[in-house]
């Protein structure tokens, strides 16, 4: 499908066009921090952003959500009403890969209808990455800074304009409706050069060769004892991670005891209660065991199960760990480097 260009001084006009048709989610800035939010007008957006506080997967797998409401033992509602189509704009390739990991779990043998509705109802207009932070390492996992598939539109900042690659019919309709001019070979040459330049900026690297097997073969490595003493069991890493898919389910009733709802919230395997079983048993009582489980989930288990790593190299867990646990260092140490 024919790639297009968008002049930067026409970006707001383009976004206003999108806002007429879609609920637009995109990166916004406040107090020098970035996060994804639903925007009302184009000026709210910022494309010059570094990794957001929360991963944008929060718009697919909500931090909390009601699964069922019931009244006197009868289910009265079990999912949300149909919604206006959404478009997530300016999402980085690492975070797109986060969504692909969630797909493996929420759209597996059993399909989670809440996730599925949002996933199918949301177009992805991604943005290749040129703002490489010192905590980023997506290149090691092949999840950035460029994106090859799984987008409707893909933007690349080329100075005074964006190159827009088109990945689906829905994306094609958008660029056609906006009547954007076609891109040239020169734009692609410029993109290639910029991607090469971006790749040179990575300071953190992970050697992923045979990493899942190496992790599995090192369940008794000394690093887990070290981490047992170091880690706080705060669960920050899970809240920040775009691939953490775990949740807990609670029931809550109103004061009349007649109406209630069953809801879920993000959970973390770093918390003690996470793996508790009947009569107080717990197979991951120590913090070291919980940390090992988290690291292995990211660097081994998901890859062995689904063919893609559970880590996308966004660096949020490194940024948010209060005691400085660094997944790239763990991978290096376990490998024996």
């Amino acid at each position: 499908m024919l790639p297009r260009i968008l002049r930067k001084d026409e970006t707001n006009l383009f976004v206003e066009g999108l806002l007429k048709k879609y609920r637009v989610l995109g990166p916004v800035e406040e107090n020098s921090e970035f996060w994804f939010d639903e925007i009302q007008f184009a000026e709210q957006l910022t494309f010059q952003y570094v990794t957001t506080i929360f991963p944008p997967t929060q718009f697919f797998f909500l931090p909390t959500e009601t699964l069922l409401s019931y009244e006197k033992g009868l289910i009265v509602r079990n999912y949300e009403k149909s919604d206006r189509q959404r478009l997530i704009l300016g999402i980085h390739p690492c975070d797109v890969h986060g969504i692909l990991v969630l797909d493996k779990y929420f759209l597996g043998t059993y399909v989670d209808p809440y996730y599925q509705r949002r996933r199918e109802n949301t177009l992805i207009a991604a943005l290749t990455c040129q703002e490489i932070e010192d905590k980023c390492f997506c290149e090691s996992f092949g999840t950035g800074p460029d994106l090859k598939t799984n987008y409707d539109l893909l933007f690349t900042d080329l100075g005074d304009h964006y190159l827009i690659e088109v990945g689906s019919n829905a994306g094609k309709q958008i660029v056609q409706a906006a009547n954007l001019p076609q891109a040239t070979r020169k734009d692609f040459a410029e993109k290639d050069e910029r991607m090469r330049e971006a790749k040179r900026k990575f300071k953190r690297k992970v050697n992923t060769e045979n990493l899942p097997e190496i992790m599995l073969n090192n369940l008794t490595h000394g690093i887990w004892t070290e981490l047992d003493k170091k880690e706080l069991s705060c669960g920050n890493c899970s809240l920040a991670c775009p691939t953490c898919f775990c949740f807990n389910i609670h029931d809550v009733v109103d004061l009349t005891l007649k109406r209630g709802r069953r809801w879920r919230e993000w959970d973390s395997c770093q918390l003690l209660e996470y793996a508790e079983i009947a009569m107080g048993g717990n197979f991951r009582k120590s913090r070291g065991a919980r940390c090992r489980h988290w690291m292995n989930c990211k660097l081994s288990y998901v890859k062995l199960r689904h063919g893609m790593f559970g880590c996308v190299g966004c660096g949020r867990c490194i940024r948010d760990c209060p005691v400085g646990i660094d997944i790239t260092e763990v991978a290096r140490r376990v490998r024996g480097e």
Partner: protein
């Protein structure tokens, strides 16, 4: 759209007290879904509105397509609330989920069943199935251990089991209260290995109970020449969704609610965070 989190209302048809803290509940669906088919070893998620959900192994007769039965110890949030319910009350059920005991693979072979405590619940469905299809299997031996004689359940069926040809039931308890008659073994379930008829040759082992028990059962059997491939275990982990999504029951590369709860021992051996 099908919602896998949505339980279906079921009525408690019968409550049978097994011991001071264990009861067997029989459920039937209120309407629409009449079929209660399952394979021995599978579990369902029981749902009490306002309290929550918990997974339980099905213990009923798999041939009975009208009802599901669960044998439950009154020990947690959900089970304490369930304990207060009686015939006619309504609960929610989802499932059945998970893998089952290897009935096809076991055809024309000997079966050794090792049960500890409430682990007998999952195996009860299997024993009932085997009893109804007795000619498909050769020797059947059941080793069953509980804490005390008062903790044994399904006691009224013991005679039926032992009356079958080529079938043995060996019982053991950890302790016997004073002045209780107890003609059987005392000790952990692995102490029955010295008395059992089963040998490794042409035998499939199926075991369920506390994980620490499973560990020593496997160890003891391997010492007697059994191989990891012929031992099947049913594992317990915290489960929230029961359908392979919520992550709680992850055991290394396995998801217990989906890949299990019944595993060939060689599949789960060496995974992290187990007692196996």
């Amino acid at each position: 759209m099908l919602n896998p989190y949505k339980p279906e209302n079921a009525i408690i048809k019968n409550v049978k007290r097994q011991t001071y803290d264990v009861k067997t509940y029989t459920f039937a669906f209120e309407k629409e879904r009449k079929d209660c088919s399952f394979k021995p070893g599978q579990f369902i998620v029981l749902s009490l509105f306002g309290i929550g959900e918990a997974p339980f192994s099905l213990c009923s007769n798999p041939i009975d397509k009208e009802t599901f039965a669960l044998t439950v110890r009154n020990v947690g949030n959900v089970t304490k609330a369930l304990d207060k319910l009686s015939e006619g009350d309504v609960v929610g059920l989802r499932g059945p989920y998970g893998t089952s005991w290897p009935l096809e693979e076991t055809r024309n072979k000997n079966i050794l069943i090792v049960a500890g405590g409430l682990g007998i619940a999952s195996l009860h469905a299997l024993i009932t199935y085997v009893a109804n299809n007795r000619c498909n299997y050769k020797k059947v031996e059941i080793l069953y251990g509980a804490r005390t004689p008062n903790d044994l359940i399904f006691t009224n069926e013991f005679n039926h089991w032992t009356n079958m040809e080529n079938t043995w039931l060996l019982l053991t308890v950890d302790t016997v209260p004073k002045e209780s008659p107890w003609p059987h073994n005392v000790g952990v379930v692995t102490t029955l290995f010295e008395k059992m008829h089963s040998r490794a040759d042409n035998t499939v082992v199926m075991t369920c109970g506390p994980e620490i028990m499973i560990r020593f059962v496997v160890k003891g059997l391997m010492y007697r020449g059994f191989m990891e491939d012929q031992i099947f275990v049913s594992l317990e982990r915290q489960m929230k969704c029961g359908i392979g999504i919520c992550g709680h029951c992850q055991l290394g590369t396995k998801i217990v609610c989906k890949d299990g709860p019944v595993f060939r021992f060689s599949e789960v051996k060496g995974l992290s965070d187990t007692m196996l």
